[in-house]
Amino acid sequence: MSDLHAPSPGAQPIQPAEPGDPQSTAAPGGPRVVRTGDDRTDGLVRCERCGATEASLNVATGMLRCGFCRYEWRTENALATFDLDGPVGELAGVVVGSGTADVTADPAVTLRCTACGADVVIDAAAGVQARCHWCRNTLSLTEQVPNGAVPDMVLPFSVPKADAVARVAAFVGKRTFFAHPRFRAEFTPENVMGVYLPYMVVDVNAHARVTGEGEHQTRSYTVQVRDSQGETRSERRYDADVYDVRRSFELHVDDLTLESSAERLDRDTARTSNNVINTVLPFDVENGVRYDPRYLQGFTSERRDVDVAGLRAAVHDQVRDIARWRADETIGFYDRGVRWDATDLDVRGERWVSAYLPVWLYSYLETRKDGSTLLHYVAVNGRTGETMGSVPLNVPRLALVAGVVEVVGALAAAVLWVLT
């Protein structure tokens, strides 16, 4: 049984917008919103030196490179620029980046090309850039309309594609014998795709109380017991003191990262292999830069479709797990173990930032005999290179080999039985 006191407008102070701070607003009774989109408008985003509209990420340097003059520049660190990296212990109330706004708008956005005046429709569910079909300039979606397409920050890829291909090939290379024959025949690691997936990065300032019961061993000894056949054998017995165990502490959680798309949050392994994408967390989100659609050039991105309110319960559950995990550092005396019965959180402050984080994905759609499908992924963290995947199985081959192993095991068991 856990009790949670989420910050409520009545009980928790909401930081007012600081006078003269144009980037921060607080609606009465609502969270303090830090505007991360500033005054940028959709349309042409130009090279700082030559004015061209085409630029993309140079993975080797982590900087944006102009497609024409090759000038390279870096955008500001997002958290530092928007003052979203202050001490967690000073957090009070709810602070959110404006990129976390509830998703309400249609993903289709019409942009007017400022070079020639043509209207171009971008489907934000599929991408955030489009080429003007008249003048061929690249138009970018940078304004934060509430359709989940423009986050507060982006963490650019730093693992190059060749590296990701090698990691995927090595991962699958160790799992070929029992792999599905069609998967093996069609395996082409070069088809790995760079995808920016939507996440929420959350800092939590909370007071945690965990209570339960612990046992400390006081004696260990051997006793003789007689079984139903009248035979005597010795068994080990233990005596222990029992304690009520309570721990309370301030808990500052930094950069807790959760998927913010409903599809990725589904981690039922019978239906999806999203758990392998979850496994390649965490990311060095503190190095995230201010969102710029040009970082997404050459990659794909998924739109966020889950809001802060939809993720808050999951965040608090994970903070409770962290609280129990940290409390474990203080229970060394209870050598027989502790059973935690309750974890209470008093959340004093939260800070939410939406982010695009980089993942290399190799995908394979398995069609089963009953017609159902399962999308298998091999995922490579676009920053750390951590790799995890799901490889479809050749079930008949596995059953055959497991049958042989079973026969050999049974024979060995029979021999052992006879010898003893």
Partner: protein, 99 residues
């Protein structure tokens, strides 16, 4: 008289012999069980190695956190004797509940 004097040490030695025999017997049974279940165990190991359905992000240990101003308030409530397991029944301090 001699029997009375020698009784406890003999019983102690006998207990040790029985304990070691019992251990060997238990060990032998465990090996037999493993061999009889070799096929399903092998299939399960291959399944997890290929499909990795048991893998997840360990948010509880891989997320940066700070624990400050720790207060402990423990009180002894009693004792338990003759327990057969070396671990507390229902101990859950390393279990994670969130998905």
């Amino acid at each position: 008289m001699t029997g009375v004097v020698l009784g406890p040490p003999v019983l102690a030695v006998a207990g040790e012999v029985l304990a070691s025999a019992g251990g060997d017997d238990g060990g032998g049974k465990a090996v037999l069980l493993l061999l009889l279940l070799a096929g399903p165990l092998f299939a399960g190991w291959v399944y997890l190695r290929y499909r990795n359905t048991d893998k997840r992000h360990h948010h509880e240990s891989e997320t940066r956190s700070q624990m400050l101003d720790v207060r402990a308030d423990d009180s002894r409530t009693g004792s338990r004797t003759g327990l057969t397991s070396s671990r507390m029944k229902g101990a859950n301090s390393r279990k994670v509940r969130a998905p």
